[in-house]
């Protein structure tokens, strides 16, 4: 089926009234669930899935997918306003989004994330439409050595991400990597660092770690402060939200780069939006002429990762729809939903279920448009709601956090995990240790280890695979370049200093 015919089939499916309705329900649930701290897209889809057992399969899938990408829109709201990320993606958005909120620019920040989410998604949808099978075949070329190299690049990026002491940041990356080791060893089934606690067999829940390190620690440090955390901006007018001409110029290129990076990373099964956001943010900071603004409310610092994470969420459908391989945990649940409805995704899906494939893709457009229309008017409401006196707000947030982490596995153990990490996060803050690197190390650690060990197993212990494999070699090279770009400027400054009138060391 060619593109145009597919387009028509898809629109015919996606524009029926019941499909539109389920799409709207999905993105609305997604938005609100994304805003609620603690309940991520995964938990929401898992919980909503049984409700769709009785729907038409295409409607069910469109609704569940809507929750998935809708949550990406909502997710940035709580991060920006409350420094309360539930995912690694949102933690990256916090880096610059929360400083913006503290400067009274919350409406602008949320508006930009909404627009960028839309642009990022749109670019990725075009890729899905035009090139899904080709991209999926390319992704199949990625084996353990390639994944390891990509993750290594992510790790290099994560190490240079935050402001402040490099040793503190590095120690927190390593700490995060170690946290990721807790649980069952993939290769042998051995329990590591579970201390006899059966609940730790799958490791710590990322939501619980993020909610503790960021959310609970944030609450503890805010309590007792007389003023509201969000500067009350009064009545929010459109002008507070819209970027100025200069700001538009500032965000265009980072958005496009972010969308590109996100589309690529998302198409690789097993990576996820967190890594897409991380890569996009690190790239912007690296190529920026004024990297020192990052972490203090740089607009690029929210534009690129927001475009990237939404793009990655859309392109995560590529391997599932064209090969039957779910790209991440959420897509895996969606695939489960398709199987429940008697459709087993495989390499034939596009041909055997064209109505579902194109209908789903067209619903992405429609859903993203709905999200844009839905989210912009909500900005004022969220900002207002969260400008409530803090002593009323924080117990409510604590309830949502507790129930949110509970919902992932219906296990109170995770509530205690949040508590533990909240106390740890409070101590880390007090001594100036950043929390974001912990979270990034936490998602990268298990992936690095798993792929390294699998690469070694499959190459029979030949470590040169990381360099003889062309794709892997490219990423290894990029890691070296990245490191060089961090250390070379200092080196150059040192060399220049020998001449008179050299630039000052930063």
């Amino acid at each position: 089926m060619d593109l145009l015919a597919g387009f028509q089939t898809g629109l015919a499916t996606a524009l029926t009234w019941h499909t539109l309705m389920y799409c709207f329900i999905g993105v609305t649930i997604g938005t609100f669930v994304g805003v609620l701290p603690g309940i991520g897209a995964l938990a929401a889809i898992s919980l909503a899935l049984p409700l769709t057992y009785y729907l038409d399969p295409t409607d069910a899938l469109i609704m569940l997918a809507g929750i998935f990408y809708g949550a990406q829109y909502g997710g940035s709201t709580a991060s920006i306003l409350l420094n309360l990320p539930g995912t690694a993606t949102a933690a990256i958005t916090c880096l610059d989004g929360y400083p913006m909120a503290q400067q009274g620019k919350a409406p602008l920040a949320i508006f930009v994330t909404a627009i960028n989410s839309f642009v990022g998604s749109s670019i990725a949808i075009i890729l899905v439409m035009g090139f899904a099978p080709a991209i999926a075949e390319f992704a199949l070329e990625f084996g353990a050595p390639e994944y390891f190299s990509v993750m290594l690049l992510g790790l290099v990026a994560a190490s240079t991400l935050t402001i402040g002491s490099p040793f503190k940041a590095l120690s927190m990356v390593v700490f995060g990597l170690l946290l990721g080791m807790v649980g069952t060893d993939v290769n042998t089934g051995q329990f590591r660092y579970t201390f006899g606690l059966f609940e730790l067999a799958d490791g710590f829940s990322i939501v619980a770690v993020a909610m503790g390190l960021f959310g609970v620690a944030e609450i503890i440090s805010n309590i007792g402060q007389p003023q509201s955390v969000i500067r009350d901006v009064g009545r929010i007018r459109m002008a507070d939200m819209l970027p100025t001409r200069a700001e538009w110029r500032q965000i265009v290129r980072p958005t496009l780069r972010g969308a590109g990076i996100g589309s690529f990373v998302g198409a690789l099964p097993g990576t996820g939006p967190g890594i897409a956001s991380l890569m996009a943010y690190a790239t912007e900071k690296r190529i920026s002429k004024t990297p020192e603004r990052f972490g203090h409310g740089a607009l690029e610092g929210i534009s690129a990762p927001e475009a990237a994470n939404n793009a990655s969420v859309q392109s995560a459908f590529i391997p599932m729809l064209s090969l039957g391989i779910p790209g991440d945990a959420v897509v895996a649940v969606l695939m489960g939903a398709m199987i429940l409805h008697g459709i087993t995704p495989g390499p034939n899906l596009i041909n055997s279920e064209p109505q579902m494939f194109w209908g789903l893709i067209m619903s992405f457009w429609i859903g993203n448009l709905m999200l844009l229309v839905l989210n912009i008017p909500l900005i004022g409401m969220w900002v207002k709601l969260l400008s409530l006196p803090y002593n009323l707000l924080y117990p409510a947030i604590l309830v949502f956090v507790c129930v949110g982490v509970y919902s992932a596995d219906n296990n109170v153990f995770d509530i205690f995990v949040v508590l533990g990490f909240g106390v740890l996060g409070t101590l880390m803050r007090r001594y100036g240790f950043p929390a974001t690197p912990v979270l990034l190390g936490f998602i990268l650690g298990p992936l690095l280890e798993e792929h390294f060990r699998r690469a070694m197993l499959l190459s029979r212990g030949d470590a040169t695979v990381f360099f003889t494999n062309p794709i892997s070699a490219v990423f290894m090279g990029l890691s070296v370049l990245f490191l060089a770009s961090v250390f070379l400027p200092g080196l150059r400054a040192r060399l220049l200093r020998q001449k008179p009138g050299a630039v000052a060391e930063d």
Binding site: F198, P319, I325, P345, L458
Partner: protein
């Protein structure tokens, strides 16, 4: 009537074993919870929900499905093992949670044999030994010959240590006196990706999922692990027929109650399950998913679990996998 007499025998045996026949005379009096030890969307979830609907209609009480995932099903199983044995909290257990885990781990906080009273082993499903369509291996015999000549070289990917796919591979090695190279992944999708990309030699995979790839010419099936040809993979021999005599490996799913559940409750539940299995909707689902209907009686199920634990313990010990 064969089934009925077993049922009666089991009820009598249990009634004799338990000194509290009054506990659940009018079971069920309230809602029944079926714990699915996995997140929603999987085959266990589907089975539990469909079974639950039918049980609810027959016994006249609501049946609630609760997903308590974690650690390959063992977190949910442990939860039910420690629940009140009143027939109101049940487990949809699987091969991993209710047999292999006991073989694999000394530190499992529950015992699959003594901590549960099975209601019924509901379904079983064999696996398919699949290779990349471009692979040089064309039969089970090829694999046997190659593995015999090249120990620890033939790679098979699995969704993880202690899964039924992993055990099927280990059993293959044990019975053929060869040594395959186990490559564990986190989930079957990742393993499938490497199989499609030609980086691993084979997988013991889910029949429904692999049948899609076989139909599209991406993979080929060398054999099925069951005792007879499978209806989703017609023309594919069993591994036993194809060169490894006596080989059989299944994954199965069943309904379990905590040990000490009143026999009246078990009887009522078993009656409802066996009635449900005859229903047309269930039959259609089973055909679609490639499940084989079992519907074992509680007594048979109990004996079956004990034999499974024994079988996998032997495999685990022979492969040196014990944790």
């Amino acid at each position: 009537m064969f089934r009925r007499s077993f049922l009666a025998a089991s009820a009598a045996a249990l009634a004799a074993a338990l000194a509290s026949p009054l506990a659940a005379q009018s079971y069920p009096e309230g809602p029944i919870t079926i714990v699915v030890p996995f997140p929603p969307g999987g085959s266990t979830d589907l089975l539990a929900r469909k079974l639950g609907e039918s049980i609810s209609a027959q016994l006249g009480q609501p049946v609630v499905v609760e997903n308590r995932g974690g650690a390959g099903g063992t977190v949910g199983a442990n939860y039910v093992a420690k629940s009140d044995a009143d027939g109101y909290t049940l487990l949809m257990g699987v091969t991993g949670s209710n047999a292999i885990s006991a073989a694999l781990r000394d530190d499992l906080p529950y015992n699959p044999v003594t901590d549960f009273d099975p209601v019924s082993i509901v379904i079983s499903s064999p696996l398919a030994l699949v290779v990349n369509a471009e692979s040089d291996f064309t039969s089970v015999q090829d694999v046997l010959d190659y593995a015999a000549a090249n120990p620890e070289t033939f790679t098979h990917g699995t969704p993880g240590v202690g899964t039924s796919m992993h055990m099927a591979g280990e059993l293959f090695g044990l019975e053929s006196e060869t040594k395959l190279l186990h490559v564990p992944y986190t989930g079957s999708a990742a393993a499938l990706q490497d199989l499609l990309g030609g980086r691993i030699d084979a997988m013991f995979g889910d029949i429904l999922v692999t049948s899609e790839y076989i139909a599209s010419g991406r993979l080929k099936a060398l054999g099925v692990t069951g005792t007879q040809e499978h209806f989703l993979l017609e023309g594919v021999p069993t591994i036993a027929e194809a060169g490894l005599d006596g080989y059989a490996a299944f994954s199965w799913q069943g309904l379990f109650a905590p040990a000490g559940t009143p026999p009246e409750a078990l009887d009522a539940l078993y009656g409802a399950v066996s009635e449900a299995l005859g229903g047309e909707e269930m039959q259609a689902i089973f055909r679609e998913r490639g499940f084989l209907v079992e519907g074992m009686t509680p007594t048979d199920s109990k004996a079956f679990i004990a034999s499974e634990v024994e079988k996998w313990t032997e495999v685990v010990n022979a492969a040196g996998l014990k944790q």
